[in-house]
Every structure is written in structure tokens, then in C-alpha cells.
Symmetry: C2
Subunit: 86 residues, 2 copies
């Protein structure tokens, strides 16, 4: 693996794993009130575009990092919607 | 500008601007207690590496987005340190 791809993968691991505690907290507490819908929508669209950009550049790091981030964000959005009444 | 670079720039605008309200809130309230030091350190190192990755790929989108994100995060870290007593 090229040096630059390794740097991208490490960057992806750091910025993606920084979201895991928040995602676990949202699932456990069944509450996502800390996240506004505007923030979630901006981030989901933005990260989908980063994912697309990664595909176009054939960048493993961008595809990997943003693929996982999308799953974290969609999990938060689903919890926020399902438990919106509570 | 190439199509893919435009997609990257739009992705960067969305994911970067999603942090601006939080950064402004931190500056106004002079409090960054919502951000743990671990999260900040993970993100600052991670985004620095994304910035480096962007330089290596000569990707305007990665350089632009992560350059701005670094400034947001460093601002939050400075406020968190300066007002750590309060």
C-alpha cells in the first residue's frame, strides 16, 4: 500500500472512531436530542458526497472512512426519528 | 474545474459548515464542556492527516475542507483550555 493511502486510512480511523462513542451513547440512551436535524442532513449529504468523491478518485481511505461515517450518522438519524416522541 | 473536484468542494462546504454553529456557540458561551479532550485530540490529529493526504493527492477539496475544520477544532481546543477553570 502506498504511503499516502496509509496516511488517509489512519486519518479515516481517527476521525471515524471519534464518532463511535456518540453513536453508542445514542443507541443506549435511545435519544439523539444533542443532534439537530439540520446538522444531520448537512453531514449525511456531505459525507455521501465525500464517499462519491472517494469512488471517483479511487481513494480507499475516503471510501472506507466515509462509508463507516455514513452508517454512524444513519444510525443516529434512525434513533432520532424512531424515538422522536420521547 | 473537474466534476469530481466540484463534488469534493460541495462535500467540504457541507461537512465543514456543519461545525460552524458549534464553534460560534463555544466562543459565545466561553465553554467547550460538550467536547472531550480525547475527541478533540482524535479529530485534530485525524483532520491534520486528511489535510496532509489532500496535499499528497493535490486535492483542492480535501485541502480546503480540512484546512477550515482544523481552524474550527483548534478554536474549540483553545477555548476549552483557556476557560478550563470556569
Amino acid at each position: 500500500m502506498e504511503n499516502k493511502e496509509l496516511i488517509g486510512i489512519i486519518a479515516g480511523i481517527l476521525t471515524t472512531s471519534a464518532y463511535i462513542p456518540q453513536t453508542i451513547k445514542v443507541i443506549k440512551s435511545k435519544s439523539a436530542k444533542d443532534f439537530s436535524w439540520i446538522w444531520l442532513i448537512f453531514m449525511i449529504i456531505g459525507i455521501l458526497l465525500w464517499f462519491l468523491y472517494g469512488l471517483m478518485l479511487k481513494s480507499l481511505a475516503l471510501i472506507f472512512a466515509n462509508g463507516i461515517s455514513i452508517m454512524s450518522l444513519l444510525t443516529i438519524a434512525v434513533v432520532k426519528y424512531v424515538y422522536r416522541q420521547s
